[in-house]
């Protein structure tokens, strides 16, 4: 195969038909309150870790819900489980449990769309 000095760029569009819902389904089964998240960002605003490193808990939750789990494996380690997010959440989601479930199961489900 020839190399012309440039290449086809990988699309960064979320292709919803490549949705990998395995991790999400497991989290939702154990923590159904996660369903009502509306990505308001209150959790990220108060996050102890997000203040110091590039950890965005709202975005992690969203990527989990979109089946885009590639980034989650490394990012989720940054959470310190302090629980401040749960104090803020207007929908009453048990966020610490969501994060614990992700940490526990993410190695089981290696992402198919990396």
């Amino acid at each position: 195969m020839k190399n012309f000095g440039y290449t086809v760029i990988k699309q960064r569009t979320i292709d919803y038909d490549q949705f990998d819902g395995r991790l999400l389904n497991e989290v939702l089964e154990m923590e159904p309150s996660f369903k009502v998240c509306l990505s308001c960002g209150g959790c990220t605003a108060t996050c102890s870790a997000g203040d110091l490193v590039s950890f965005n808990v709202r975005r992690m939750n969203l990527l989990l819900r979109r089946g885009q789990t590639v980034e989650l494996e490394s990012e989720i380690k940054k959470c310190m489980l302090c629980g401040k997010c749960m104090l803020v959440c207007p929908r009453g989601i048990n966020l610490r449990n969501v994060i614990m479930l992700v940490k526990k199961s993410i190695l089981k489900y290696k992402p198919v769309n990396s």
């Binding site: 960064r12 569009t13 979320i14 292709d15 919803y16 038909d17 159904p32 369903k35 009502v36 509306l38 990505s39 709202r58 975005r59 969203l62 990527l63 819900r65 979109r66 885009q68 929908r91």
Partner: protein, 340 residues
Amino acid sequence: MKHIVIIGGGIAGIETASALTDAGHWVTVIEKEAQVGGKLNNWSYLFPDFTPVDKIKSVLQEKCSEKDFSVLHQTEVRSILRQNGKFSIETSGEQQLEADAVVVATGYELFDARRKEEYGYKIYDHVITSADLEQLLLPNGDLTVAAGENPKRIAFVHCVGSRDEKSGNHYCSKVCCITGVKQAIELRKRLPEAEIYCFYMDLRMYGKHFEELYREAQEKYDIQFIRGRLSEASEKIDKSLLIKAEDTLSGRPLKMNVDLLVLLVGMEAGKGTTTAAATCGIGCEESGFLKTTDSFLKSNFSEQEGIFLAGSCTAPMSVNDTILHARSAAQEVNNWLLRK
């Protein structure tokens, strides 16, 4: 006894007529269609509690048959002139009416979704509006799509024809968001296995029980809400639709295949209201809806003395807002007539 003419026999027109008749006046309602009820005839279940529309319709019908106001069906107003302190009205049925007061209740029209050509309404087979879906959600409605199967994935698009420079309507049409949530839940009840998505810019859950219904939609009915405006819809070779939006909350563009696309169309002032504005010499807002004297204490008064406004000809309104506005109009007309 004073005579009041009401232009429009929808919810607002009939409710105003009923209240004014109770106050002892003689009322004539001019309605351009063959039956009263206006746009209420197009809806099946009302938000937020899924009240069947027949409940409201039957009350309207009862008022028409039991109360003493007359309705001129399939009639329109040709001209209105002020003469000797009264209004001289000529109708399309060659009648001459004389009234002490006029109430404009000409209502709204739904945005014609063909104007948003990038969504392909009436071009692609499986793009429909919320009004179309409302009929299909009736028990005998046919929801099948390509190959005669039920849709496996359905997407709702909010703000079609509203909040949109390209459509010429800058305002928010208020009731479409809750309509989307209501219809999403109704679709879920019909198609338990389907994936249902709502693509919104903002979710306007302004009314009583609206936010609770939204939460219920997420919690109990597994409706997925994605914040992002659809840029386009294209038809694929198997008649499913490829839609593109941005998942703004994760900051990445998103594309997916859906089997059915539902456009939540907004309310517009419509021809009846624009004609009424010209006939009565009333001004319109930039949105096309009729101008009221103010928004707080005189929202039923128009710029013309003796001509009052009721219902969604003044702004997008839900059914319960319209009923309240109509009853208020009746009260204002009555007080004004007593003072004259």
